[in-house]
Symmetry: C2
Subunit: 120 residues, 2 copies
DNA sequence: GGTAATAATGAACATCGTTATCACTCTTAG
DNA sequence: CTAAGAGTGATAACGATGTTCATTATTACC
């Protein structure tokens, strides 16, 4: 199961993973997929991105615990882990300037990867 | 209706707006609220943020068309419009470095505003 | 090995936000 | 006044996710 998500490589929705597993012949329930995906996310083993259309997508992430963001291909879901100290600093500083505390932030960059661009 | 969203001040879900209108005595349907909110968003009159728990929140935004991000209070929904040329530059540059095109990005900062922090 | 306790599973159902239907009303043009 | 068109809202439909619970797999202990 863990392997399934790893194999997918990019950000995938629960239903995607479920479909892939079923297609591969595994008899697995949707509930189980959701459960595991959430567990992975809770343990920091997987990164989560909420797409604009209400889907939650997961991706196995080696750098557990490390704070980072993603550059995601909106066609195939492939993602690069990116990091920027300056972004973190900017967020902190901006929040402080307006008197906000307990700060958190989401930063995701979407685009079309070279492979997908070539394919079209 | 437009006024209702303006009055709310911060990011509010369709259901919130619906509730506020009903509470104010207006007889309005949920469908209509959704329709208008989406229309505002389409016309760029309102900004949209998808919260982590699958809700879509809207906020009336003066700076129509201008690209900006938000510093949002996760308690009361109040929001400050923030802007950072450096963030835009970083996103562009990062995408280019990995060969991604047709780039877009979401940047939202969440925290607890001074008022809400004081209230607790 | 055998057995009891425990955890994991998955089918069906519940929920929640959102969207589509469609009859009805309100407005506008003639 | 009347007919056409737009807007409205109650309700049903929908898709993603969460929960329930009986069944199955696993582990611990004898």
């Amino acid at each position: 199961m863990r392997q399934a998500l790893i194999d997918e490589g990019g950000f995938r929705s629960a239903q995607d993973v479920y479909g892939a597993l079923r297609a591969a012949g595994h008899k697995v329930g949707l509930s189980t997929v959701y459960r595991h995906l959430q567990a992975f996310s809770d343990q920091g083993e997987a990164d989560v991105i909420h797409t604009g259309d209400g889907e939650t997508t997961y991706r196995f992430c080696g750098d557990s615990g490390g704070h980072h963001h993603h550059l995601v291909c909106r066609r195939c879901g492939r993602a690069e882990e990116v990091e920027s100290r300056s972004i973190e600093r900017w967020a902190e500083e901006t929040a402080k300037r307006f008197g906000y505390t307990d700060v958190d932030h989401t930063v995701e960059v979407f685009g079309v990867c070279a492979a997908c661009a070539a394919a079209s």
